[in-house]
């Protein structure tokens, strides 16, 4: 295992005006910010880059007044989302973001026929599961990205999605459970190599 980088230390150095520490923090987190930002506003790369720029410029400007975040990635993703929502609310950009909490209810689940068809059309299991993930309601997708890729705690996911911890955990559970049930028929033949390798 590689030695963990002491991000708290980096953060403190950057607060003292250390350019290198600042650049290191940028390099550590810019890719996660980029993918998370793009997942929120998928069609506008330039807009996401602008927002990342704003977040980093702002922490530089306010560096002496900031506290040291417990989880730097969470802090930066949260700042990025706040920035994106702020600009979208000011109608500076076309509306591309779906944020109504009840949107989940409007989300039509694929029928079993549709699922079967997709299974037949998919060349491999990766393609199939990607399709299935893309059919989850947007907030469930966001929650599982934060959970299984960004490795966030439920409390942090809850913060990012403006809900309480229990709801965040339920959201992740619903997504996982739905994927499991959709995959159930195929788990045994499509995921055979998972069986044999374990």
């Amino acid at each position: 295992m590689d030695t963990p980088i002491d991000e708290q230390q980096l953060w403190q150095d950057f607060q003292q005006g250390d350019d290198d520490a600042y650049t290191q923090l940028y390099r550590l987190h810019v890719r996660a910010m980029y993918r998370y930002g793009l997942s929120l506003v998928p069609v506008s790369e330039a807009f996401v880059l602008d927002c990342i720029h704003d977040v980093f410029a702002e922490i530089w400007a306010k560096k002496t007044r900031l506290t040291v975040p417990e989880n730097v990635r969470y802090y930066l993703l949260k700042s990025l989302k706040t920035r994106i929502l702020h600009l979208l609310k000011r109608h500076e950009r076309p509306h591309l973001f779906v944020s109504q909490p009840d949107f989940d209810d409007l989300w039509a689940e694929p029928s079993s026929d549709e699922l079967l068809m997709q299974e037949e059309e998919s060349f491999d299991r990766e393609q199939l599961i990607k399709r299935l993930v893309s059919q989850l309601p947007p907030r469930q997708q966001e929650a599982i990205r934060l959970r299984f890729v960004e490795n966030m705690e439920y409390t942090q996911i809850a913060e990012l999605l403006s809900m309480n911890r229990q709801s965040a955990q339920n959201l992740v559970f619903r997504a996982v459970e739905k994927l499991r049930s959709w995959l159930l028929p195929s788990l045994f033949y499509l995921f055979q190599d998972f069986f044999s390798s374990k």
């Binding site: 940028y26 810019v30 890719r31 530089w60 299984f148 994927l179 788990l187 374990k198």
Partner: protein, 373 residues
């Protein structure tokens, strides 16, 4: 041992903190713990296995997200943009800080050697912040370097050791090291110069000017990069040049490669580097000139000529790209004499004749027309 897991389903496991942590970053302790738990709860082994596969499937399904690719170029450009904003912010803050100090300085001015040192230090700091790229380049050359300076108003003409010709314009400097032509062909410019580079396919010629690097094989072009300009400009007269910025992540490769890559400019094109944002923009030069032709140019005399044919001729003569719908314009003909007109006038007159409009986008001329009847 607490046994909350005794009745867990696969999905329960997947969303559990300890389970996820163990799957993503197993430690000797976590391996121990789960092995012990599984041996004590053999009935849960199957559900546990399902959970492992389910988690793998979920993460596989998120691959598009995980692998969202930010190119190194974009990453570096964004960082430079952020740093430029930060510098701007720091410079705005600096005068406020010195004003702050003023009353304090007034009170103790008489006796204060310390404050003088402080001001001296601050002055030096702000000077260093403003150090020009040219000075930084020249500092890397050794004592034997050669520097040409044109303090006057008239252009200064001279030849480089490799036979390339340089016209150095007013208030400009050009440096190169003693080995020029042997080890490399690199020159460092502050100000404006016109280069006619002797062709040496195996030894590219480089002009470093502020944040921009221009790489050529053999061609003529103008570089303008005065210390206080907000932008750097390169205009191509003949041949091809490639340009990239000093902070280009693949700069090393572009420098060493014998090919021209990056943004390649052709005659009558110019590139402008915005120094604040490090953004490159390509355009046509303000007054595109006819290209030197090996064969005499056909006269721009047209009688009932199909417009696409006319545009093709102009494209060739000026080396510019004209975008139009050939099929649509084939119904249009032109009768005109356009030999004396500039490129812009030619385009304007043609557009008037066929009731079209035109626009220049990214060094291309685009013609909008509904066709003719």
């Amino acid at each position: 041992m607490p046994n909350q897991y005794a009745f867990y389903s696969a999905a329960d496991f997947v969303i559990d903190d300890a389970f996820l942590k163990h799957q993503l970053t197993p430690t000797p302790a976590s391996i121990d713990w789960w092995n012990r738990w599984l041996s004590e709860n053999p009935s849960q082994q199957e559900e546990w296995n399902k959970a492992v596969r389910l988690l793998e499937a979920v993460r596989l399904g998120l691959n598009d997200y995980t692998r969202t690719y930010l190119t190194p170029e974009t990453e570096a450009m964004l960082l430079s943009r952020i740093q430029a904003t930060n510098r701007l912010h720091d410079e705005e803050e600096a005068p406020i800080r010195s004003l702050w100090n003023q009353p304090w300085i007034r009170y103790v001015a008489a006796a204060s050697v310390i404050s003088l040192i402080g001001i001296g230090w601050w002055g030096q700091q702000s000077f260093q912040r403003r150090t020009q790229p040219y000075q930084a380049y020249v500092a890397t050359l050794d004592e034997s370097k050669i520097e040409k300076v044109n303090q006057g108003d008239k252009p200064l003409h001279f030849q480089l050791p490799d036979g390339s010709q340089v016209t150095l314009f007013a208030k400009s400097r050009l440096s190169f090291d003693n080995f020029f032509g042997k080890k490399n062909r690199s020159v460092y410019l502050s100000g404006k110069a016109f280069f006619e580079v002797k062709k040496q396919p195996n030894s590219p010629f480089f002009v470093y000017a502020n944040e921009l690097v221009t790489k050529v094989l053999g061609t003529s072009f103008v570089v303008q990069a005065y210390p206080n300009d907000k932008q750097v400009e390169v205009q191509v007269k003949t041949g091809k040049v490639s340009v990239f910025t000093q902070n280009d992540p693949s700069k090393a490769q572009k420098l060493s490669n014998r090919e021209l890559e990056g943004i390649v400019l052709t005659p009558n094109q110019q590139i402008t580097l915005n120094r604040q944002e490090l953004r490159l923009a390509r355009a046509l030069v303000p007054e595109p000139q006819l290209l030197a032709q090996p064969i005499p140019l056909p006269a721009f005399e047209f009688e009932e000529a199909p417009v696409p044919q006319v545009l093709e001729l102009i494209e060739k003569a000026y080396g510019v790209n004209i975008v139009y719908d050939a099929e649509l314009l084939s119904s249009c003909t032109l009768t005109a004499s356009l030999s004396e007109e500039s490129l812009a006038q030619k385009i304007k007159l043609i557009c008037q004749a066929i009731d079209a409009t035109s626009e220049t986008i990214d060094a291309q001329i685009v013609i909008y027309s509904k066709g003719c009847h």
